[in-house]
Structure formats: structure tokens, C-alpha cells
Symmetry: D4
């Protein structure tokens, strides 16, 4: 069986085989009941299940159905982790944010990568307005195997970090900012135009996507 | 009499003759009282009446005036169907959605097409991230006479389906997504640029328009 | 010495040490003389030098200064490769394009990745309008270590490929298209919103950036 | 054999079987040689072949390879029509343009639909600034089986026509206009927001797509 | 005295002399207290005062200070009219709306023009989807001295009316619509590109500006 | 006869009766032959004919067909004026430009208004960067019956003039500028948001439309 | 110690030395607890601390931790000012707003500049619709050493003021307006295109940034 | 005499008195003859005259009229400097560019500031992709009195420099880049959202405006 048909959803049951991790539930736009039903079904076939963009009501519905799942509040994630995946301590995914307000996106990336079996290190608030804060973190940055750079406003941190390392940089623009940030458009365009090579970009506020891609890269041998 | 003048609205009384179905009431932006008054007047001249974008208050006002109308909650439609139109079982309008969150738009299309006298089949959650789910539905897709493809985010499903069939495809971008989806703009542009011919696009979230056009095409002999 | 100052340019002489490959010359916006001077200086310190976005006049100026450099016409690249880097035949970077018109961007990516020491395989014209063409290439796709997906118009190929593989996908939107493609904006937004995880995006037509990032990832052990 | 691989292109050889007409060559962005080679190969398997967006050089290359093909200058189309498809005189596709400048797009639609086996009637220059010109054409409009409405500037013609007929209307925004037309964006948005149901939209200047979709609909029985 | 300085506002006391009507208070963004204070001061110097974009709280504050002012709910206007201006019954400003949802904007225009001494006639819901409704109003339209055309969605009504009359047409795009209407942008661009001459456009939802300009034109002798 | 059908164009022969001036030929996008044929036909029915956006080749074609027509180079207009319309010297249309580069648009407006029977006065280069230049023209401005304000860049002149006069102001944004002027978008948005009432806006660079509307208003009695 | 690491934030402790004022806390997007903790830590090292975009809950948290801080309601600022900086009465920063609704942004600028040791003068509501109000303030404007011009809608005030003075003008677009102001975009573009030299622009509603830059310039000797 | 009226231009003859330097001629959009005539007239009243955006033909026309003027090719400036203004060697305006392609904009700023009496230092090609190149210039940067930062692509250099200095930073986005740089929009938005305070932005490619504003600030005492 490749697909489990719930009517309102068709669960891709071979995604784990095809892509190394079961289908992840993006809860925004689904009713709490829909999310919970999918979560339950996935939990019957996979030991590890992940749900993102979980609001209060959805969290309650998920935990009611699968009580041993865990809620990560800042990351807005509910995860079931019955068979934690082994982590290679020497291959660290390092997550850098430009500011404090970027933390929720960073947490989404961190929890995602961690549950997918990666050692994760987070460094918050090293934006370029006080660039020495970034350079103080060079030992951490240098030892990273994959980097995720998360920034709103003008998103300049991605370019700076991209020029400092020889490892892949996944840039996540955030909707942090106001006025001409246009809900993350400024950061997105900035990161797309990064003058540093080795940088690629995911959607605004898409911590999950960054964590997932970082995990894929980090597992390459 | 071609027009019934209510002051705040001029009901087009010859639309049924001209276009095969009476004027449909788009309730957003109208007061519940205005919508209900129009609905009542239409019901005095036509056995079948349709109102879309019906919120709670409007639904109550409509049903108070015309108690035998029916409320379709997911579709946000109130419909009066005193003389159900005959349906040709062999000419199916097939509605495909990329995700679960696209269901309200799909329901608007499905109820619209159904009331206008079409056999409708819906298939939810066959987005391209797990494309085998789509191919599992090929028997359904192949037997469609007209297809409606509903997708948010990048809207890629329209192009893929457009390349698989020899029947017309009506693509409906939805506002499902976040960040660089810009409330459906990404899906809209994607669908406009579909590399598959045979695809045309209606407004973001415009399930009604898709259902209406599909019905027109489906009745061609 | 970290920087070689030519007045009009400051060559980053430690980039090879820092990032594994010398500074690459982006020739657009530079005079042929400026590009040639930088190319010559780099060639005095590094055996391998790369110049991108090379037009006719710049090509002539580069080859006049460094006759053993080679011009890749389709890729608009001039490269000096005095010490070709070893390639691991088992780690293939696979480049897929949606159409024939995307070939120049693909060539830029292919030449870049090849010179940086990667086995590269290219598959042209497998866009989703005839999706069986893509599935016929599944053996090639499955054996890829890193994938670059290049598409204009709606860019749907990135989402489809992203859902089929467990390896990283670098998506390159191209300016191929017309009308509502808005010079690549439609493809860019589409790829940013990919419903498949594991996809990240570089700038429109940025074959070089994709090749560079793919090379970085492909060398991870 | 499903695909004919020319290296730079993969010709979809089963498109005719799958979609009723062989793959159509979009020549923009291809070299004249590439277009001509594809045209030749297709002509060896199909009696009827269509190439769009044909410039001077490409036209010469195509006719040199396949001398019995025919060049439609205004439509920028080269077509081979060795087995003209039968046309049902009673099912007319009617093409309306708002202005004289929209004619090239209309011709692309007309030639496309004609070669695909449809009776086509064109009516130029009936934009809404002199709406009596449109009403004078009501007999033509009323007898249409499918309508294509082509307009630049504000694109209002689509809404007006959409409200007059009970047949499907395919709207084609054009890049005709200046200033705030933003190369067709104004017309595109206008047509997407048409207050008349039964209208769907294809890409700016996409006469081919409109002709193709109209043909598909027109052949429905 | 040309200006009355309230600190938070500088009232332009010579506007009546310069432009024929005292400064009008745009209440959005002002506190109720600020609006009320300005209203009171103006009322001490002018018999007629107008305040627009009046919300509940502001209305209460205004009427508390100036009890003989009158609240026009649909128009969101509070007006003091101690010396009603004479109206020329033979010079009618005619206001047409495309739909019922455009009525609040139309009311703002109507009340503005009326208080400024103009005979005003309103015709609601004559959008182009049922264009006979518009033609039924030709007697009203023909006798207009100045026309205000108010429409959301694609805004096509302005072009159609502009082509029918020999009098000036002031077009007001509204934010009525959804999806690709982008809060009135589609209507605005449509109206800017009107293929009919004699049409000029004011800001989205700017009923006041249209009423004011219509009044200026209507008083020309 | 209401319409003269040339095939590629349908000339609206009753426009003069309906709107006071014959159809005006917008030559951009038409071939010189098409423009000339329309011009000739119109000249057979009307003593006065106007063609705008006339390039070199079109000018030659027009004058070859109708030698007594006159070419206004700066205005890019060819006009036939066999029966010059009388002008009321006391009702002046005053055209103000912000800069020297706006002159071609101003000339288009001036020639249009003049041929339609209006006294026109032009004042160039009174932009707000040296606002005393504007105030030096107050006598001219004060005596205007209708004003046309033409400005690129930020378009501020429209707001300033709108606040000084009691007559209607037609604002024309121009594509003069660079960078963030985005081909006139900045001026258009600025003028749409004018804080002065009594201002309405036509399309970017639309000198003709402004001249036409000014003429309509100027003839009101 | 250059940086004080709170985990969720890295306080830049040398910013005062480097830039003359300690790090300023932008509270939007931070939890009240985070803002309060940073404020407290900064207050332990600097006598003067500034927090902007302070909402009700954050204000309470800040004052609970540092009771001698002061809340500026209109400016949405909490400031600690234990060692007020000396002010040079002869060097005035003059802040002009176009309207009353721009006051909160002006207050943010004024409080910022004042706390950083500048004499500040504010003039509200001198927008160009009644330009004599501006000219009445010429004595104030002439004596300014640095000017901040704050305007929404079309933002024309910046160009006018920029043309009147020989001192630097910092322009702040605001989100005041509606419709085509697009949340400040119109004002931003207008100000970027100012035809007056000597004007530079900060982000929409960025009163703080304007105050900070004005202070830097005002302290130059 | 405040204004010298040439018909096509009104020269602001009191600008020098009002703003410290005579009116500067922006030649783009003017004919060579217009520019030359203005230049000549200005040279009769002022010893120093500046013309920007000078193309080949305009340069020839200017030098023919005023042979002792000087052409600065890279800056596209023609300047007359009969009474060179004194420069304070201790107050340096420092101009930094991110890349080599930004040099023309930098030269426009440098020549402007120099002629207006400022010591200018330029540092090219210190973009953030190799940030050590920037830090190597810290001695130059630290001694600057005013900084102009010029960058295309993502424009990140402005934020980094803004965080390093205590002097005003004028940021100039350039149209250098491709794809999602959208002709400088990405850099403009990035710079508007700079997380460093003390930065303000001028129009894309506006080297003149930056040089002018820097000069004004640099002359403050």
C-alpha cells in the first residue's frame, strides 16, 4: 500500500522509503481533527511523526490522540519520537539567527533537524549590526557541517556567513521587520541576490524546510 | 421585465434565459439583509437559487427567509434546489486538490457544479510532492469530461494534470500557503505560465467560477 | 597577503583557502579589460580560474591575456584548468532542465561543477507537460548524489523532482517564458513555495551558484 | 517509443495519442537549428506539425528542412498540414479582439485552432470604448460555440462578453498598452477578476494556448 | 489669520476662500478627540463642516461637541450643514456602482457632493456582467452633467460608461473583490488603462475625492 | 451607419455625435498602413482627425494619404484640422510640467486640447525643488479654467497645485526618472494618494487623455 | 567583554564606544520578558537605555524591572535617562509632519533624538495641500540644523522642504493613507524619487532611525 | 531675478543662495541642445556648474558651448569649475563600493562631492562575500567624516558598514545584478531595512544625490 486514503487526505505511506522520513503534517489550514487523524494514522505505521505549524487547538487534538507525542512550544511542533534516530556528534548543523525575533523559525528548524537525527547547535542574535558578535562565534561556525542562517529585515547575515565558510548555507528569510520589509520580501530578495556563492534559499519563515534540507545534506557520506 | 430593482441591487432577471442559470449571489460585502432580500426575490422567479461566500449571519438570514434552502457549510454556499437539474452520469466533472487545506474551495466548486446539473467527483490531496498519489487516481482522471485542479503554494498540480489529459483543465489557485505564496499570487502566476496547453485559470479561491465554467463546458454537445 | 588590490578590484586571495576554490569573476558590468586583468592576476596564483557571464568582447580579452584558458560558448564561461581537480565517478551531480531554452543556464552550472571537480550528468527537456519523459530518466535521477533542477515558466519540475528523491535539490528558476512569467518571477515564486521539502532556490538564471553549491554538497564526506 | 531523444530536446512522441495533437514547438529561446531539427523529426511521425513564436531566421530554417510547411506571418506560426483535420462548420470558435493591435495574438489563436480542426471566425476591434460595435456583432457572437476574447489595456471586453453568452469564454490579456498596463499585467488582473462567470484566463499574449484550449472544448460531444 | 494652530493640527482657515469649501477632516488615524476638536473649531468659522471616515467612537465625539451635526452612517460621514448650499437641479452628478458592495463608497461621494451644493442621483448595481441593466439606465446617464463610476473587481464599468457619454467620468476603484483584486489594485490598473478617453481616476475607495472633484466640475460655468 | 468596417479595424463613426469628437487613432501597435487607412477613412467623414503616438514611418504614411494633415513633432501627433474649432479665449486650459523632460507629454496634451477647440497655455519646468518658480506663475495658474499637471519622479507637483486652486486638476504621471521611479509607477502612486482633493489621474505619459478630458470639462457651461 | 550573552539575545556591549549610544531595544517580535531582561542588563552597564515599539505588556514588564525608566506613550518608547546628555540649544533638529496622523512616528523620532542629546522642535500638520501652513513655519525651518520630514500618502512634503533648505533632510514615509498608498509604499517611492537633492530616506514609520541619524549628523563639528 | 526662463526650462537662479550650489542639470530626458543651453546660461551667472547623466552627444554639445568645462567619463559628468571650492583635508567623504561594477555610480558621487568642495576617498570592491577586504580598510573607514556605501545585488554592505561607524552612512542601491535583483529593487529594500541605525537611502544609481547630501553634511560645523 502506497497511499492511505482518509478522504480529506491521502497519506503518502512510502515517503519514508522514498525520502528517509515519513510525511510531515503541515497543520495550518487543516482542522484540528484532520491533523489529529493524520497524525494518528502515521503513528500506526511509523515510530517517528512530525507535525508543524501547530496552534493551541491542534496541539490539544494531537496530544489527545497520541499522548506520548511531545509539544515544542516555541517551534510550534508536535513530534512523536518512539525510536529516536542516532546522531553523529561530529556533524553539527549550526543555526544562526540575526535577531531574537527570529527564534521561533530557528526552533522549527532545530527541532526538525534534531528529530531527523542530527546534532544541532543554535546561536541567536548575531546580526550584522554588531558584526563582532558574529566573529566571536567563528569557532562554532567553523565546526559546522551545514549552516542555516535565519534573518528578517534585510537578511544580510546570509551573505556575510556565506562568504566565511566552505560548507553549504541554507538561508531562511523571516517576516520579522516592518514597513519596507513587506512581510519578508526584502529579506527573501536580499538572500536570493547573495553575492556569496554556496547559499540557497527556502520560503519565508520556513524553518521546517531548512531543517529538512540540512538533515538531508548532513547525512550525505 | 429584465431587471428587478431593489434599490441597493438590480437583479438580472433574464440571466437564466441568457446564460442558463439565474444570477448567483456573491454575499461577501453585502449585508445579511441585502443577501436575503435578493435570495427571496430570486426564489420567487426561479426554482433554483445559489448564494456563495455565505458567513454565519448571512446563512441565518437566508434560511429565515427561504427555509427550504440548504446550507453547505464547507462550501460556504446556501442553495435552493426546488427543481434539481438532471445529471448525465457519463459526463463527470472531476475536481482534484493538491492538499487538504484546499477543500473549502473544492467544495464551492463541487456544490456549484452539482446544483447546475453535473455529476461531480472529488479527489483530495494529490499534490505533486508524492506524485504516485496522483497516478493512483489515473482511472478517475481518465474518465473525467472536464477537470478542475485546485492548488495553493506553487500550484504545480495544474501543469502536471494538464499534460496528462485531453480534456479541458480549469485551474484554481488558492491562498493556501505562507510567505512567498503572497496569498495565492505564486500559485496564480505558476498556473498562468503552465507549460501544458489546455489549461486556463480563474481567480484565487474562485471555486464558484471554476464550477460554473466547468458546468458550461460539460453541457456542450 | 589576503587581498590583491588592483584599484578597480580587490581580489580575495584567500578565498581558495577559506572556501576551496579561488574567487570567481562575474564579468557582467565589468569592462573586458577589468575582467582580463583580474583573470590574469588570479591565474598567477591559482592553477584553476573561472569567469562567468562572458560576452564576445570579454572572451577575446581573456584569451588574449591567458591563451591556455578555454571558452565554453553555451555556458558563457572562460575557464583555466591547469590542474584539473579529481572527480569521484560515483558521486554524480545530475542537472535536469524543463526545456531546451534552459540549456545555457544548465551549461553554466555543469561547467562550474565540472571544473570544481565533480562528475556531472545533464538531462535536458524533461518538463512536466510530458511527465513520462521525466520518469524515463528515473534511473539517472535515482543515482544522482545532488540534483540541480532548472526551469522557467511555472517551474513545476522542482516540486515534482523534490518529491521523488532523497537527495538535496537545488532549484534554479530561469527567465525562460513570456507574459506573466515576469522574467523569471513566476518560476522563482513557484520554487520558493515548493510543496516538496528538500528543495532550496538560487537566483533566476544563476547556473553558477547552483553548480557551486552542488559542488560543495557533493564533496561532503 | 514514447520519447525521441535529440539530446537538446526530448520529443514527446505519445502526445498525439494522449492529447489528440502532437507536441507543438515553442520556438522562442531555441536556436533556429534546434527548432528545425525538432520540426523535421516530428514531421517524420505526424502529418501535422505546428511551430509557434517563429522569427525570420527560424522560419527560414524550418522551411529549408520541411519545404511543404506553410508560414503564417501575422501569426508567427509555421505549420505542416499534410492531413488537414475535418472541421464541423456548425461549431464555430469565435475570436474577438478589443483593438487592431491585438491582431497578432488573435492570428496565433486562429491558426492554431484552425489547424487543429475547427471552424474559426475572427472579429477585430470591438473594444468597449464604442460598445455598439460589439453589439453589432451579436449575431456572430450568439452563434459561437466557444469564444476567445483578446484585449490589452484594461481588458474589459472579456467581462462584457462573458455576461452576454452562455458559452465558455477564454480570455487572453495582451501586452498592448503603455504605462500602467505594465506589459499586460493590468489586463491579466482585470480578466482574473471578471465579474462575469464562465470566463477563464491564459497567459499574456498566449494566443496558442487559447486556440488549443478552445479546440479541446469545441471537440467535446 | 490663515491657519489655526491646535498643536496636533494646523487648520487651513483660508481653504474656503481659496478652494470654495472649508478643510475637510479625514478622521482615520486621528483620535476621536483630535477629530472632534478640529470639527468644533471649524464649526466656529464655517457654517458647513465635513468629516469623513468616521468610526463609531469618532461619531460620538463629534456629535457630543457639535450636536446639530448629522451622521450619515452608510457614508461614514458627519456633516454640519447650517447654511445648505443651493443646488442647480438641472446639473446632476450621477453616481453609478458596479455592485451592491460598492455602496459605502458611493454614499461617501454622494453625501460629499450633496453638501457641497450639487444635485446627486445614484444608481446602484449596474456592473457589466448584465450590461442591459446599464443600458436600461441610459436616460439617467444621458442627463448627467458629471459622472462618478465606482467599481471593484476588474473595474470595467468605467471604460464602458466612458465610451457612452460626452461628459467627464471620474472613476473610483474599490477594494471590493478578493484574490487577484489585490485590495483594489486590479480595478485601479484597469481604470488607469481605460480605452475610453474622458476618464480620470482617484484613489481606491476614495468616494470623498470623487465627490469633491465632481462638485468642482459641476460648478463650472 | 454606425461603424465602418475595415476588417483590421472597426471605425466608430458615431463617436463624434456621441462624444463630440471623432475617434482618435492611437497608432502604437498598428502598422503605418493600418493607421493611414483609418486616418483616410475618418478624413472622408470628419473635417478634423487626430492621430497620436505617431512614429517616423507612420507620419510618412499618414501625410502621403492626407497631405493637408499636419505633423506635430514634439507631440508625436498628426492632425487634420480642416474646420478649426472656435476657442473661448477666456477659458484657458493651463498645462504645467515639473521638468523639461516632461515636455513631449505636455505637447501631446496641448495639441489635443487645442485641436478640440481650447485655448491652451503651457508652463514648463516648475517642479517643487524650486517652488518659487511655481509661485511666480500664480497669475497664470489663477486664471486657468482647467489645469493639467504633468510630472515624473515623485509627482509632487500635482499635490501642491491641487492645494492652490479651486479648479479641476488632471494629473499625468510620466515615465521621467530612473531607479525607483519604476517607469512612472512612483509618480502614479504619488498622484493617486494626493492629499489635495480635486485631483484625478490618467495613465502614465497619457497626454492625450488629459487633453481630451480637460477639453470636455472646459466646454461645460 | 564585547558581548553579553543572554541566550536568546547577544547584547552588543561595545556599541556605545563604537557608535556613541548603547544598543537600542526594538521590542516588536520579542516577548515582554525578553525585552525587560535586555533592558535590565543594559541598565546595569549604561546610564541611558532606549526601548522602542513598546506595547502595553512590554511597558509594564520594563517598568517593573527598571522603575525609574520613563514611558513615552505617543512615541511607544520606554527610556532610562540617568545621565541626561547635554544639548546644544543652537543646533535644533526640526521635525515636520504632513498630517496629524503622522504624530506617533514623529514622537518616536523626537524622543529618540532628545534622549541622545539634541534640542528638538516639532511642527505638525504642514502638508502641501495647504502649503501656506508650511511657509508660515519658514522661520522655524530656516533655523533648523537637521530636518526630519514625516509624511504618508504621497509624501510630497519631503521634496518641497528639500528644495527650501541647505541642511540635510531625512525623509520618513509613513503608513498613513489607504488604497494605493499600499501601507506606505507610495510615500516611500515618492521620497526615493525626490526631485530635490539633499534628501535621504529611512524605512516606513521608522521614526527611531530618523532620530538616530539626525542625532549623529547634529553632533558633527 | 529668481528664475531665468528659457521657455523649455526655468532655471532656478537663487538656488546657490538658498542651498549653497547652483542648480545641477540632470541631462537624461533633455535634448543635447536643451542641456547645453541651460549649461551656458548657468555658466554666465555661476563660476561652477555641474551636469550629470551626460551621454556622448550631450557631452559634445556642452563642451562646444563651454569649452573650459571638463568631462568626467566614468562619472558621466561635465563640470565647469572656474572657482574651485576649498577643501578641508581633515573631513573626508569616504565612498565604498561592494563591487567593480558599482564604479560608475561611485564616480558620479565622487566627482559631485569633490566639485562641491570636499576631500573624497574611494575604496572599490569591498563587498561582504570576502569581508576581510572590508576590515582591511578599517583605517580608511574610521577616519571618514561621512560615508557613502554603494552596492547592488543584496546591498548588504550598507548594514555591515552602518554597524561599524559612528558617522552618517548614505546608502546607494545600484542596478548591478540580475534576476531577482529586479534592477536594484532588492538592494533598495535591503538598505531600507538595514538593521543598523544611522543609515539612510537615496534612489537606485543616484550617485549624484549621495554626493550632494554627503557634501551638505560634511560642511556642517
Amino acid at each position: 500500500m502506497n497511499t492511505l486514503d482518509l478522504g480529506f487526505a491521502k497519506i503518502d505511506m512510502e515517503r519514508e522509503k522514498r525520502q528517509g522520513f515519513p510525511e510531515v503534517i503541515y497543520c495550518a489550514g487543516k482542522t484540528p481533527e484532520q491533523s489529529a487523524e493524520i497524525f494518528l494514522k502515521l503513528s500506526e505505521h511509523s515510530p517517528n511523526v512530525l507535525a508543524t505549524r501547530v496552534d493551541e487547538a491542534t496541539k490539544d487534538a494531537l496530544l489527545a490522540k497520541v499522548p506520548d507525542a511531545k509539544y515544542y512550544e516555541k517551534a510550534r511542533i508536535v513530534a512523536l519520537e518512539r525510536e529516536p534516530q542516532p546522531k553523529d556528534k561530529d556533524r553539527v548543523i549550526t543555526i544562526l539567527t540575526a535577531g531574537t525575533s527570529d527564534i521561533p523559525v530557528a526552533e522549527e528548524a532545530a527541532v526538525t533537524a534534531s528529530i531527523m537525527g542530527n546534532e544541532v547547535e543554535v546561536v541567536y542574535d548575531v546580526g550584522v549590526a554588531g558584526i563582532h558578535r558574529l566573529f566571536e562565534q567563528m569557532p562554532v561556525i567553523k565546526k559546522a557541517n551545514v549552516l542555516i542562517v535565519i534573518a528578517g529585515m534585510e537578511g544580510a547575515l546570509a551573505s556575510v556567513v556565506g562568504g566565511l565558510v566552505s560548507k553549504p548555507v541554507i538561508a531562511v528569510p523571516t517576516s520579522v521587520g516592518y514597513g519596507a520589509s513587506f512581510d519578508g520580501l526584502a529579506a527573501l530578495l536580499g538572500m536570493m541576490n547573495s553575492c556569496a556563492a554556496g547559499v540557497a534559499v527556502v520560503n519565508i519563515d520556513n524553518g521546517f524546510g531548512a531543517g529538512r534540507l540540512a538533515s538531508i545534506i548532513n547525512h550525505m557520506r
